[in-house]
């Protein structure tokens, strides 16, 4: 009897691991920046390059930093979600226009709607490196003390917004 039960148990254990493996996304690398201060930066604004935007200005506010680009396909997928979020005025969304040509970026926003309070232009991707960006779009939830609380890798969806991002934002705003 044991001759059959042992291999069966081994097979079931293996199946469970493989099944879990099916639902893991190897592209979702946990960020070491969660719980750490958002890296400081100062970049020219996309629409007004003569003005700078720095992360330090946002102290005292809970905000979202959305890394996007006009060449990024998944960004187009999340864009309507961000536009709808911006209309609700729950949390300010700032953009980090990553490795983009300003004219392309402006044309894209002009056509699809601009959900951002403003976007900072990271033309060389250096700020992106400081934030550990490896696949656009990525979205950071940053609290009043300037600490990164959450990072969404890949497009923001209605589901991730309602289940994770917004509850977290509300909780952080109460503090």
């Amino acid at each position: 009897m044991m001759r059959f039960i042992l291999p069966l148990i081994a097979f079931l254990v293996l199946s469970v691991f493989l099944y879990i493996g099916l639902h893991l996304d190897p592209h979702e690398v946990p960020s070491p920046l969660i719980g750490k201060p958002a890296p400081a930066f100062s970049l020219p604004q996309l629409h007004e390059p003569s003005k700078q935007f720095s992360a330090q200005e946002m102290r005292g506010k809970v905000w979202l930093l959305n890394v996007w680009s006009s060449w990024c396909v998944s960004c187009k997928e999340e864009h309507p979600v961000l536009v709808a979020l911006a209309q609700k005025n729950i949390v300010p969304v700032y953009g980090l226009d990553y490795k983009d040509k300003p004219e392309d970026a402006e044309a894209w926003l002009a056509g699809a709607g601009n959900p951002y309070v403003l976007s900072a232009a990271d033309r060389e991707g250096r700020v992106g490196i400081d934030y550990g960006v490896y696949g656009v779009p990525e979205t950071y939830v940053i609290d009043k003390q300037g600490i990164i609380r959450y990072k969404q890798i890949g497009p923001v969806t209605v589901q991730s917004l309602n289940e994770k991002i917004l509850p977290l934002v509300v909780e952080l705003q109460r503090k």
């Binding site: 690398v29 060389e124 696949g135």
Partner: protein
């Protein structure tokens, strides 16, 4: 005409060589050091390629970053720490021994021990279940004769 076409077709792969990595540093010593370091780092975009061999844009940016830090005089370890602080241990091809990498590092040895133990136990049990039979002297002679006979036949 056909032959010429064939010859031309055979020459086609000549144009298929891989392009040189872009923006080589002017300093070959530094470039070599950068490549040496980048070979042990993972490109986060194409995860099974090293930072040295990847053509992803992020990899190019990170190579530029590594080069600049080397020019500033940072040590290899300081540069690795810089990247780990941003991208996590995942950038390292050789993960550090930590509480959550214990299974990764020692799991195979544990499995080996368990499997080895199980095999040892099974073999011992089997030896016990097949008792050595005591042969009578006559039976032993017969067996010896049969075995000898067998050997002669083979020879």
């Amino acid at each position: 005409m056909k032959r010429l076409l064939m010859l031309l077709l055979c020459l086609l792969p000549v144009f298929g060589y891989a392009g040189e990595a872009k923006d080589m540093a002017a300093d070959p010593v530094l470039e070599k050091r950068m490549i040496g370091l980048a070979e042990n780092l993972r490109c986060l975009v194409c995860q099974n390629e090293s930072l040295a061999s990847s053509h992803a844009e992020l990899a190019e940016d990170l190579r530029r970053e590594v080069r600049e830090q080397m020019k500033k005089g940072l040590s290899d370890q300081e540069i690795i720490d810089y990247l780990v602080a941003r991208y996590g241990d995942f950038v390292l091809y050789k993960p550090p021994v930590k509480s959550y990498t214990m299974v990764l590092w020692f799991g195979p040895f544990m499995l080996f021990l368990v499997a080895g133990g199980a095999l040892f136990y099974q073999l011992r049990k089997r030896r016990q279940s097949v008792p050595e039979t005591d042969l009578t002297p006559e039976a032993q002679q017969r067996a010896a004769a049969m075995l000898n006979n067998d050997k002669e036949n083979q020879a």
